[in-house]
Amino acid sequence: METTRAGKVTGVNGNMVAVEFTDKVMQNEVAFVVVGEERLKSEVIRIKGSRADLQVFEDTANIRIGDKVEFTGELLSVELGPGLLGRVFDGLQNPLPELAQAYGFFLKRGAYLKPLDENRLWNFSPAVKVGDHLRSGAKLGSVAEKIFDHWIMVPFQHCGDLEVIEIASSGDYRIGQTIATLKDPQGKEHTVTMKTTWPVKIPIKAYHQKLKPADPLITKIRLIDTLVPVAIGGTFCTPGPFGAGKTVLQHLLSRHAEVDIVVVAACGERAGEVVEILQEFPHLVDPRTNRALIERTVIICNTSSMPVAARESSVYTAVTIAEYYRQMGLHVLLLADSTSRWAQAMREMSGRLEEIPGEEAFPAYLETRIASFYERAGVVQLRNGQTGSVTIGGAVSPAGGNFEEPVTQATLKVVGAFHGLSRGRADARRYPAIDPLESWSKYQSFIEPAKVHKGRAILKKSNSVHQMMKVVGEEGTSLTEFIDYLKGEFFDAVYLQQNAFDKVDESTTADRQKYVVDLIIQIIEQEFQFESKEAARRFFLELRQKFLNWNAARFLSEEFKNVEQEIRERLTQAAATVS
């Protein structure tokens, strides 16, 4: 039997345990260190002769030399099946609320629970019949999970055509019950249940082909959608110093982005931030479905004080769950906050393994690990022609807010959009603090490129006038230049900045963005002739005020129309005084 393979502890250093084994050991297999009554989950990360090094996913206190270690022969895996949505798991897919029920306030070491409810009945309806030939990932049938049609699929590991020998009829089943029997090309029969397991570090690829991300993902954050858009199936990163609003930005994305499912990986960050999601999402309504936001969300949470090794696995757990739902033709957004903590977890282990360090003591394989994580994003065409996608957005927390550090640089190489947060903007309370000039995106916005170009141009111009004014003073600039400066500031204040705490302003639909951009472009292009810089400043301050009121009014409401009317009148008036 596989499970009888065992070894003995020969060393403990932090969360790394050295083990002497006799039989055989597989790289990355899961093992358990037995400490009295407790069994501590761990993973083999290096093998040298008859010694294996394990990273332990728990606190290692009180492990003794000679303690027994049991090897399982399984890679670190997640359980996939109906019942993942709306749930909160730790980095190893233990359900946290259920752990709390069983063990109270504190996370008990060595306590693991099943991620999926084994007793719940799901109403299964078959989609295939006996004799059908199917490939891995094909839909065998489905159950209703929240608002989604959750496919029960041919397990992803099978190759070639499988013949359906048996398929369950419509009815209620538990996830562990057999719902189909399949015969592989070699004639071997496999039983299929509604749950399946998949190793987290291996991408699920049971689809026809990967496509180029082309369609914009509507985030309802104006700065992103207009200037630095994200594509469905694309990748983006958000590096920024602490206090620049990375997490608020990620929360806004998780709430407003137009996708089917959001997987939030809170990796090595504050517990308090997860709690906010946990407490808010059940009460926030998703405007697209009219159901609670939590119903489309899966939270993987391994906060900063939880064991470090499990932090490393949490991003993989999250991306595997995202890929699973992609196989059902759904669009999934994965938000990882923060990938730097994940990289630091790798660094801690690498240090304990006494590997030769790379830059800032990060391991040499940092770049490949980051690249292969982001490469798991993408739009895919399934074998039935439908498409599904995983979009990955990673927050990066660069040491000292300096983007030259290894994690940011390795990330920038592989993402399609860069949303760099700036300390300066955050200090001036200009939120979202994405620097509109530094940031970039390789994807297309839903706003016409010509308009985006104009907006960007005025920002550049405004910024250069601003820089110049710092040297030559306001009196050293011409009135025209000064007006350009004011236009840029105006564009920033009323459009790029968005009040995350205003019910209306926090999210702007694509239609509204298109509508508002038109008026803003008109203002940017309009020629004003003011008597003095003072008069110009006054005018734009007043205009800004009206625009802010406009932003706070519901789209196309009575108030919205009234304020718009006022703004347009004021603009004609300004044009009239000119002539």
């Binding site: 492990i63 709390a100 504190f106 517990a271 997860v274 709690v275 400043r537």
Partner: protein
Amino acid sequence: MQKVYNQIIQIAGDVITVEAEGVGYRELAEVRSKQGLSLAQVIRLDGKKVYLQVLTGSRGISTDDRVRFLNHPMLVPFTENLLGRIFTGSGEPRDRGTSLTENLIPIGGPSVNPSERIVPKNMIRTGIPMIDVFNSLVVSQKLPIFSIAGEPYNELLARIALQAEVDLIILGGMGLKYDDYLFFRDTLEKQGALSHSILFIHTASDPTVECLLVPDLSLAVAEQFALQGKKVLVLLTDMTNFSDALKEIAITMEQIPSNRGYPGDLYSQLAARYEKAVDFKGAGSVTILAVTTMPGDDVTHPVPDNTGYITEGQFYLRGGRIEPFGSLSRLKQQVNDKTRSDHRAMMDRMIQLFADYRETLEKRSMGFQMSSWDMKLLKYGERFEKELMDLSVNIPLEQALDRCWKILADIFDPAETGIKEALVREYWPVARTEK
């Protein structure tokens, strides 16, 4: 079963190595040397070799001294008798009281299940406008004061502690100057707060390893009191000394340093302590206020940098005042919508104007002509600094907000302030609108 060994094979820094069997990771041992009895903690196991960090330092330990393993981890007593007492970093009395041995609990326990936390929603009023108005402090928050040597950070810490409404104050002093220790003790005593305070003090002249234990001792006790329903405020000063102690041990253990000599797990180590701040569902809470001194006033130094990513904001103390820029309370949004309807708008706009003022100052120092707008900003900035930023200002939140309106109304037109009209109508000081 207690095992005794008397052959120390290596002494390096404060870490000694003995060959022993059946020892558990992080277990405690007693080392008896000419210097007396000291505790030591297992920090690494490698085959038969057991590495121990000696709490009182390795000076004077000889290779044939006796090491006795105690078969349990580091413990701290948890009882009502702790109140009003002062201890060292190894939990021994520093005052003249007796040593406590009842109800011992382990330190550095497991972390709280995130799903058992609640969203903090109660503000801690401090009477300092720069905190109450602009960066409200919230129950269960973890917040450091970033400062440099010479600034009155300990005074600020003591003042917040005394003015905040909490049941219990626990002070963890790390590398404190002896005078600072006396300052805290005397201030607490004078204000009658010592009776509901517990002090764990490691002074600059005490052994390094004891410094490492101070946060764990303080927080273990705090956590237990919180579980009993108490609102606990933990003060930790100075966490940079704690990090330096970590660095010292890591280098002794020949760990590969990551950044400026600090170990790669500095973030996790700090987080494990700060994350003890919690509001328990149906019980009490732990709030942590810490001091992090920034070597060379450099916020990108690994200690303040890692801290900033862990804590829920930070206060910058510079020139004896709390700086409005960079200072941030991440939890303020949880409470400042329940205070007064103008709180948020006022907070944002006052800071934006102050940023403009700073820019104008820069322009002026370069000798540029001042526009009338600049003149207004200058006037505004001066009043802001004098009437709100000065640390001697001690007024409740509502009064502070009124003061903000007064300053704005004295200097600007309503339109210039850029505050929503509805709020202007409600709060703009009357005398001005009748003009």
